[in-house]
Amino acid sequence: MATRKTTKKPNVSAEELLSYYRDMLLIRRFEEKAGQLYGMGLIGGFCHLYIGQEAVVVGLEAATKDGDKRVTSYRDHGHMLACGMDPNGVMAELTGREGGYSKGKGGSMHMFSKEKHFYGGHGIVGAQVPIGAGLAFSDKYKGNDNVTFTYFGDGAANQGQVAETYNMAQLWDLPVVFVIENNQYAMGTSVKRATKSPDFWERGAAYGIAGEAVDGMDVLAVKEAGEKAVAHCRAGKGPYILEVMTYRYRGHSMSDPAKYRTREEVQKMREERDPIEQVRGLLLTGDHATEDQLKEIDKEIKTIVNASADFAKESPEPALDELWTDIYAAEIPQEVN
């Protein structure tokens, strides 16, 4: 595994580290709460938690600028929180309420925010990949220097449309970072049971696309790789592939007993590689924060998450006439730039 290691003492400010800690913790606690609400029957259908993968989106969001776009699969809660969407609106969408980002009509897998340039939330494995290239196409067409982050998993990486998209993205020099979140399992199928060419980023070479693998449990390594990728795209050099080696602690979805891997494997990853614990360690050993300060942050996050759960429970179900709205647009929705 050609992952990058951050053995050297990171050149990063306390402020920055604290913000990563806060952002990752928000995702972790939010997802734990979503799991609880699912167990209580308040969230229905499919619900795919992001626990364990937090460093991926937090690291990459740190490499973005205003105007950059992002699009991902159905494991999307983390991406939405990381790009600044309101936890209340996300949680209320999970509970299918009026206050949700899609007024309760999208659900866990289908959420969007034009304001935050978050283009979903796509339920069909791999479908977001050409869509992401298309978003990048629109920016190139308009002549700005925005970059689109297109996230997909190791499972989607085997989809034919990914290969089609690589080809077009490189052919047309599209400013898109393809982020392969390799969490080792496509639902229950481990990478080695799905492909004999397990270095997904290297597939880009067949199309002339630059790329690399990076340790996705290390938020600083992810951010550094993200900055390199973004610089490549903004310079007009076309797409870039980042294969981010990560791990999901929970099952594929809430109904997955995860029998395809051992408890020990998960436990080892949690104990040795946990992205939040790594930053916590850096904060404490580098004297950037005290235990008390971190406890204070934990408390803040808990308050935000509890508030989102309360909001998601109290927000009313959508009005019945919402069934018939938003099927056709009467006017073209205005682009927010």
Binding site: K105, K114, F137
Partner: protein, 461 residues
């Protein structure tokens, strides 16, 4: 022995062409593979090669001649010492000279009376969508579609065209002819053969604020892309609670062309018509092709625009207006009648109108409705007509089960049951994959005769 060189059929739908240029002259010796002439078809200018060796004895059709029918003798090839006149005394018996016309060729004969030139449609709709006194020009469906795209691209810089062979090749069916020259490679984009990918990419571009026109070389190939058409384009507005959608057009030829077999001959009207979030247009005439395509490009929703290869070369009167658009969801009555309502759309209109002409000779007065758009569908116009005629026949090329006609039948049954004097009959393509053999293909397609028979059944004649 002297042999005739015949005007070749250089595309599946070619009925006639222009003999653009002779590259040989009388007296030249030619051998197999030599280029004899340039022939302009409905799709492209093609080089025409010699098959046999010989001397060009006589050129029968001068260069520059338009409308030369397929299989017309265009030159005579002689052997050493022979005269071109030898062939004139012995009528050619080349098997291809008088072929049994394939159904597509015969079906494409104009509805007009004697004297109407091939490819021109004489029938005119009642109540046109343009003001009285508007000057008209004759235009093929192909030209109308191109003009619609060009006009909309001039009007809105966010509109762009992408697809296979749309730019440098000028369109596989010449629909995008000239667009690359006018708008450049930024806005007229050749894609790799990658329907799933470029359809998805265009959806992303639409989310990003552009208004893509995606050309599928045929809608048969759009099956590779149907996930993005339905899951990504059609559903996103709803799934996002109205925040973002896909203002775009997916267009291309749909349905049977001629002799291209099962995988290239499917009519998808009923499939796409079923999807909430999509709009579906399927024009018959050139004026509707133009007006509806312009409306489709402006529409903030994903539109499926189903064209027809056989209709591309058909000419109709098109209003010469600066900005001619046709609204979605408004059917057009082509012919008023009192005894039966015939409802169709797209190329089905040809059978409907032909049938109505022949039925009139038998004293049966048929009202012919062209739906023009299938979603939204103007069921009001159908119902009003059926309430008047009390009988209805639907005509389409697609398959019978789950057809457009079966939906229309259910609407009529639920909303005008008491007005019906006979069961509605759906004339459709046969429930088989399209065969290649000319005789079987003819059997598989819906025919004018079947429409006439259906009308006679519902009118108890």
């Amino acid at each position: 022995m002297a042999t005739q060189i015949l005007m070749p059929a250089l595309s599946p739908t070619m009925e006639e062409g222009t003999l653009a240029k002779w590259l040989v002259k009388e007296g030249d010796t030619v051998s197999s593979g030599d280029i004899l002439a340039e022939i302009e078809t409905d799709k492209a200018t093609m080089e025409f090669e010699a098959v046999d060796e010989g001397i060009v004895g006589k050129i029968l059709i001068a260069e520059g001649t338009e409308g030369v029918k397929v299989n017309t003798p265009i030159a005579v090839l002689v052997e050493e010492g022979e005269s071109a006149d030898d062939v004139a005394t012995a009528p050619a018996e080349a098997p291809a000279a008088e072929p049994e016309p394939s159904v597509a060729v015969s079906a494409s004969q104009p509805a007009g009376g004697p004297g109407a030139s091939p490819g021109r449609v004489a029938a005119k709709a009642l109540e046109p969508d343009w003001p009285e006194g508007t000057p008209m020009k004759e235009q093929t469906v192909r030209e109308a579609l191109r003009d619609a795209m060009a006009e909309e691209m001039r009007r809105d810089g966010d509109v762009y065209l992408m697809g296979e062979e749309v730019a440098e090749y000028q369109g596989a069916y010449k629909i995008s002819q000239g667009l690359l020259d006018e708008f450049g490679s930024k806005r007229v984009i050749d894609t790799p053969i990658t329907e799933h990918g470029f359809a998805g990419l265009a959806v992303g571009a639409a989310f990003g604020g552009l208004k893509p026109i995606v050309e599928f070389m045929t809608f048969n190939f759009a099956m590779q892309a149907i996930d993005h058409i339905i899951n990504s384009a059609a559903k996103t507005l709803y799934m996002s609670g109205g925040q973002m959608g896909a203002p775009m057009v997916f267009r291309g030829p749909n349905g049977a062309a001629a002799r291209v077999g099962a995988q290239h001959s499917q009519d998808y009207a009923a499939w796409y018509m079923q999807i909430p979030g999509l709009k579906v247009a399927m024009p018959y005439s050139a004026s509707d092709a133009k007006g509806l395509l312009k409306s489709a490009i402006r529409d903030p929703n994903p539109v499926i625009f189903l064209e027809n290869e056989i209709l591309y070369g058909r000419a109709f009167e098109v209003p010469a207006m600066d900005d001619y658009t046709v609204p979605f969801g408004k059917a057009r009555i082509w012919r008023e009648g009192t005894d039966v309502t015939i409802v169709s759309f797209g190329i089905g209109m040809q059978y409907a109108l032909e049938a109505a002409d022949k039925l009139a000779e038998d004293g049966i007065s048929a009202e012919v409705i062209d739906l023009r758009t299938l979603r939204p569908m103007d069921t009001d116009t159908i119902l009003q007509s059926v309430m008047k005629t009390n009988r209805c026949v639907t005509v389409e090329e697609g398959w019978p089960q789950g057809s457009v006609g079966s939906y229309i039948s259910s609407v009529i049954m639920q909303q005008a049951f008491d007005y019906l004097d006979a069961p509605v009959i759906n004339c459709t393509g046969k429930d088989v994959p399209m065969p290649y053999a000319a005789n079987l293909e003819k059997l598989a397609l819906v025919t004018t005769a079947e429409v006439i028979e259906a009308v006679k059944q519902v009118t108890y004649r």
